[in-house]
């Protein structure tokens, strides 16, 4: 096995099970790596907002003890994980990247937090994100920007840039992301990692701080497809505490990842989405995407072009639906029951305190989206904006239905460009929103989608992602395709894409 921090999650779990290494040693190696490269808001990767060495080592010690007592350990027991700081944890602060929740300690664990603890996964800490998961760069975090381990002057994607950067910097072999418009897939693409957005309702949202409830979906992030599948299996499945959770068996994603690794896609029908490419797409992104499509053919898949004519309207519909839900969800931050309270000097009313607190506690993007949503939902505009956006949502779902009648999966680039320089789009919301062009349709329709690394763009040497879309509850097809592509490229490159990333210098 490689050094502990370079190993796959599946290898680490096997080594712990065999007694070749202890879970405490594995946790310590990752804590040491974080101390070496993560740095602060000012320098280093800055993937983590909070690292809890004590509780990580304690959780690892429990795994070692269970092994010593002869317990049967699960397939990820003892493996460290980086948790996006929008998932609540009773033993660590949870901020959602917002000043309004700075220092808040949730009184309960999210369902997926509980499931990971029960599986023996060791939570190292909480990762950075755009405030309330709204953004594509982590620049909207109240606690500083995360830097892309491939080039520290560039964004790591967002909102889950912290989780993706933690994987790419070898600070953790597994991470959790949440995806409302691309927040798992876009960071995966720009950091050369694997990110899966499961079918909406496939993973519980209980304890996930809501951005837009009809779109939010938590999912696995990893460096390899099999590792993501193993994590998917731990967190997915019905949860009575989430009324939108699907009461059906979890697709066999681990089996699909193992089959896919054999590299035979004979009989698989793949559709290239005509509308997701061309103008506005970086040449190097299109080149690597075309290579990946050629590879799929070579592996036996039948590739055809498919038209999804309403995808063009996805971005516009999304930026009406999402802010509408955000304006409603963020109303709970009212300075009364948790979080920040400003201006409560005895002379001001609750309403004034609420308004002052929200003005001081929310960042620019949160304010923008609250205002947009308030506008879109206000009488006189509701039918023209929100109502019409909901109809477009129906048309996008119908485009998917028609496409999946012809093909098994759809593909596109994950993002139109590679990682851009920090600061380039921070005050240009429309340019920033374009990052989510390819990923948004799957959130609107609720189907499963993923991003897999397919090489580096020629012009800047930065990672490019292949976006794979599958029908509702056909998450296993993502893993089949992802694993096939991964094993073919591993043979070509002599390892994973991340092994080509420049070494990070220590922060000392």
């Amino acid at each position: 096995m490689n050094s502990l921090t370079r190993a796959k999650a599946s290898e680490l779990a096997a080594a712990i099970k065999q007694g070749e290494v202890s879970a405490v040693e594995v946790a310590q190696a990752h804590l040491d790596r974080i101390a070496e490269v993560d740095g602060t808001a000012e320098a280093g990767v800055h993937a983590f907002l909070h690292v809890d060495a004590e509780s990580a080592l304690a959780a690892a010690a429990v795994v070692d003890q269970r092994r010593a007592e002869g317990d049967e350990l699960g397939p990820l027991a003892g493996v460290p994980l980086a948790l996006k700081d929008v998932i609540v944890t009773a033993d660590m602060p949870t901020t959602a990247g917002s000043k309004i929740l700075e220092g808040w300690r949730p009184p309960y664990d999210a369902t997926i937090t509980t499931r990971m603890r029960e599986a023996g996964i060791v939570i190292l800490g909480k990762t950075n994100l755009d405030e309330f998961a709204m953004g594509s760069s982590t620049e909207n975090s109240a606690f500083g920007t995360t830097r892309n381990p491939w080039d520290l002057t560039r964004i790591p994607g967002g909102s889950g840039g912290g989780s993706a950067a933690a994987l790419a910097a070898f600070e953790a072999p597994l991470a959790i992301g949440t995806d409302t418009g691309g927040s798992i897939r876009q960071p995966a693409a720009v950091t050369g990692t694997v990110g899966i957005k499961p079918t909406y309702g496939g993973v519980s949202r209980y304890g996930l701080i809501a951005c837009a409830s009809s779109l939010d979906q938590a999912g696995p992030c990893a460096r390899t497809v099999l590792d993501a599948a193993l994590l998917h299996t731990v967190i997915a499945g019905h949860d009575p505490l989430d009324s939108t959770s699907i009461a059906q068996p979890v697709p066999d994603v681990v089996g699909a990842a193992r089959r896919g690794a054999e590299g035979d896609l004979t009989g698989l029908r793949v559709g290239v989405v005509k509308e997701l490419g061309g103008e506005g797409y970086q040449a190097g992104v299109e080149a690597r995407f075309n290579d990946a499509v050629a590879l799929l053919s070579k592996l036996g898949a039948e590739v055809v072009e498919v038209s999804c004519p309403h995808f063009t309207y996805g971005l516009a519909a999304y930026y009406l639906i999402l802010p509408s839900e955000v304006s409603s969800n963020l109303a709970r931050f009212d300075a009364m029951r948790y979080g920040l309270r400003v201006g409560d000097d005895g002379s001001r009313s609750a309403e004034e305190v609420m308004s002052l607190t929200r003005g001081a506690g929310f960042g620019a993007e949160a304010k923008r989206r609250i205002m947009l949503g308030t506008y879109a939902l206000s009488s006189g505009y509701y039918d023209a904006y929100y109502g019409q956006a909901q109809k477009v949502r129906t048309l996008i779902a119908r485009d998917f239905e028609a496409a999946f009648a012809q093909v098994d999966v759809l593909v596109s680039p994950t993002t139109p460009t590679t990682a851009f320089p920090i600061g380039e789009k921070v005050d240009d919301p429309l340019a920033m929103y374009m990052n989510d062009l390819c990923t948004i349709p799957s959130n609107l329709a609720g189907n499963a989608s993923a991003s897999f690394p397919v090489g580096l763009a020629d012009e800047d040497g930065l990672p490019v992602g292949l976006h794979v879309m599958a029908p509702v509850l056909a998450d296993d097809r993502l893993y089949l395709v992802g694993a096939a592509v991964e094993s073919a490229y591993a043979a070509q490159w002599g390892g994973t894409l991340l092994e080509q990333a420049p070494a990070l210098e220590g922060i000392h």
Binding site: S214, Y313, A316, A335, M371, L430
Partner: protein
């Protein structure tokens, strides 16, 4: 193209309970106008006979048995509040002097 005035932006901020500084209002007014201009694209789609979708899953109500369960301990919840008193959330005055 929608054109949203600074006055309308200030009204929206009041509705959303957001205390915004004058320069924030100016900045936001321009940006909201630009974003609304772009998203107005949805109105170009002829969709009169198309039903709206509010949610990816066709779920309606989800029921469960009405059984009492242990809830979170009051001290854990109040401990995370900005202010608490006598086992309750303490909040600023809700009604005006005349109330």
């Amino acid at each position: 193209m929608p054109s949203i005035s600074r006055e309308e932006v200030a009204h929206l901020a009041r509705l959303a309970r957001l205390d915004l500084a004058p320069d924030e209002l100016d900045h936001l007014a321009g940006q909201l106008d630009q974003i609304l201009g772009a998203v107005a694209q949805v109105t170009e789609v002829a969709a009169d006979d198309i039903p709206p979708t509010s949610h990816a899953l066709p779920l309606t109500n989800v029921f469960r048995e009405d059984e009492p369960k242990v809830c979170l301990p009051a001290e854990a919840v109040l401990g995370a509040a900005p202010a608490a008193e006598d086992g309750r959330f303490r909040v600023p005055q809700i009604l005006g002097e005349e109330g």
